[in-house]
Symmetry: C2
Subunit: 444 residues, 2 copies
């Protein structure tokens, strides 16, 4: 009988492993894709692209089994040679090639966009149309390593705080959020919708697990066409039982942000450097009431308040600017949003029920988080639904959790692509989504 | 200005923290839900349910501000008292109650099912209908801690092997898999489908990141109604570039399984004990060709071969039994599936193109994984599509990745709920899905 042992053999190395294992000075074998070729007559440089790095391979006339003329961009190769120190090479070393094995060849050697260049210098439209190729550009792909770091930060921090990761269904019978714009589908003869948030599920799960989180897709059939909306995005959600107030939620988010920035600094320095990103310093995050924030920027920037119930994008931008200037903070919590604009499950402030015990987090002037304390009392919930002119019809399962007892709780949702966009200083959320979905884009 | 510091204050403890911090013998404050009350005249035991444990609180007549008569199941409480050693209590200690604060009350104190019992002793149908409540049962909820452990194992192991976690879109323009049963929806006037797998996306991403993985929902509109199919489930997917053969993929899966079993043993012992689960011992996993496996069980169990191109569920079951009996293995890799039954992107065996360089992993007689090497050569891919009578129409983005060069690669997908089911010895995959979706179930 043949067996699989699960011992991962490493017949080849990455550039990072060569450095980490101190193999400069030794013979090494690497694999990668031909990212760039510079042919300088008697010597040629073949830049090999690997998962997180590039390796410079130097090919001297007659020293290897293949000639530079045999190679094209987009081939994948196995190269054996001597790793030697070379200050001018990408990571301080290069490989003097002795043997090349061609692992695969492209059908067309001329790329439709210069992915080997430092910057693509083409339109976002083209970048997205050619996503399978443009992600091979070193800067483009770095964004998604950093995005991974944000997700890791979210999970690792919440796991350390006793949260359970859950997976809730994306095909739902209905949505409980009013004013929702939903994608509809037929489900074996029944009407169904795509989840626009795991809201009701994560709340129900607090009754069983106290603290839960989910990282998953959400679907919004909104006819927005802005630089900060996607119709499908990845939501970082948590819901937390036994809170004293919504301030516990803001503390948890601040903890996550600090943990994540630290993780990025530690493990994603290479990509941060590639993208020339300076991480914000976060020690503590200022908080300000919704109505006060509105007044502050109205006075400071001499701008009339038009909508007393919501923040206009320009107001968010100015609030961001104001708190950066006055308090040197990239983040700010805006609290006490008007009840009128928050969903039925939001808990009203007992001192003034026109406001809710809720908040948004703005990052560099853009909302990245919405959160708040939820109503946990069954009768209160029914009353609030009535006030919002909702019927409990079809909501039995959600209401069941409350009928039989729920702890005080609250939670939040963070848009991953938007968080990434603001962190990287991008202007369009499509830049930080692998395969964005918007009003006109359904492919690739 | 008020600030949020991100320092998580802990005004209350969990039972686990009391033990870990050696606080038995001290005054402690805990929060939790009333799981059970046993009133023994002069003393009452209130079992408080917390995220991963229960805490026994002892209420003596006149010693606290509230009486046992003031309490009902489903309330959530804050209790202050002295933690004292008590062998007969759940974790070897109990809390002598001095002060009780009621945090929330249920609307109805009588649960519709006895969630406080060790076993629910009710039908699966009822368990699922009352999921928000039945998950409060200690055994029921334990399954999903273990499920979390499997996901953590997958991610942690693959991250350690240089894989990048990605998030690919679930709303797609079309599916490339033939014979697919798809959920359809309208997307701003266009036809769209729900992703039945991240297959094409993860393959395209190998060209940019070499190694990628995804944990996310997949959607199958199959009209199955079996104990092992769901119409929406969580798929653990990876795709790996620069492989030498499909055996590298089986090694990676074996590595994941060993890592995960070790993680479960280390960090989920409590839940394993609750569910009386003995983890399988895995050192290496036997592998056997598809045609040989079919012959083996046909001869050994004296059962005719009916379908030479696929394994019937009963055959899978017998193969599992055979390899358990003969090789004491709970897992077995079945390799070299017939080309006829594998999708177009599967690489055929160059020695005999009626077989593919692919495999399934059976766990205790049920398929939990399908994987294999993929075609990476553009022209080969076009030829194979032609052979399968597919047109390249609408597949430009997928084909683009190959046209401009792809490394040799392969990958696999693991059904999370099914893996969990087999690990826990459950008979129905609905038991190990928080909110299952099947032919008749769309709620809760």
């Amino acid at each position: 009988m043949e067996y699989v042992s699960g011992v991962i053999k490493k017949s080849y190395l990455t550039g990072d492993e060569i450095l980490a294992q101190g193999l400069v000075g030794s013979e090494v074998t690497v694999r990668g894709a031909v990212h760039n070729i510079r042919d300088m007559a008697d010597v040629a440089f073949v830049i090999l692209r690997q998962a997180r790095t590039v390796v410079q391979c130097t090919l001297e006339e007659g020293k290897a089994n293949l000639n530079v003329k045999d190679l094209t961009e987009g081939m994948t190769l196995e190269i054996k040679g001597d790793a030697v120190a070379e200050d001018r090479a990408p990571n301080g070393f290069e490989i003097k090639v002795k043997e090349i094995k061609i692992l695969s060849k492209p059908d067309v050697a001329q790329m439709p966009v210069p992915i080997k260049n430092w910057k693509l210098n083409t339109s976002l439209e083209t970048i997205l149309n050619l996503r399978p190729l443009t992600l091979r550009n070193l800067r483009e792909r770095s964004k998604f390593r950093i995005q991974e770091g944000i997700v890791r930060g979210f999970r690792e921090f919440l796991t350390s705080q006793g949260f359970l990761e859950i997976h809730t269904p994306k095909i739902n019978a209905r949505s409980v959020e009013s004013g929702a714009t939903l994608f509809k589908l037929e489900y074996f003869g029944k009407h169904a919708v795509l989840a626009q948030s795991p809201q009701t599920y994560k709340q129900m799960m607090v009754g069983a697990f106290d603290r839960v989180f989910e990282v998953g897709p959400v679907f919004r059939a909104e006819k927005h066409n802005t630089t900060r909306h996607l119709n499908e995005y990845t939501s970082l959600d948590f819901e937390m039982g036994y809170i004293d107030s919504y301030e516990d939620l803001m503390s948890m988010e601040t903890g996550f942000i600090k943990y994540t920035l630290d993780l990025l600094k530690r493990e994603y320095a290479k990509e941060l450097k590639t993208l020339k990103v300076d991480l914000p310093e976060v020690d503590e995050i200022p908080q300000c009431r919704f109505d006060e924030a509105k007044k502050l920027v109205s006075e400071y920037y001499n701008r009339p308040i038009r909508n007393p119930y919501d923040l206009e994008p320009e107001e968010e931008h100015l609030i961001g600017e104001y708190f950066k200037e006055k308090y040197n903070s990239d983040f700010v919590f805006i609290t006490a949003y008007p009840s009128k604009k928050r969903p039925f499950y939001a808990m009203d402030d007992p001192a003034d029920d026109t406001f809710t015990l809720s908040f948004d987090c703005l990052f560099r002037g853009t909302e990245i988080t919405t959160g708040g304390q939820r109503i946990h009392d069954y009768q209160e919930l029914l009353k609030k639904m009535e006030k919002k002119r909702m019927t409990p019809e079809g909501m039995d399962h959600y209401l069941m959790a409350f009928k039989y007892g729920m702890p005080p709780h609250g939670g939040l949702g963070i848009g991953l692509e938007r968080f990434t966009m603001k962190l990287l200083g991008e202007e369009n959320v499509r830049e930080t989504c692998l395969f964005p979905r918007d009003l006109s884009r359904l492919e690739p």
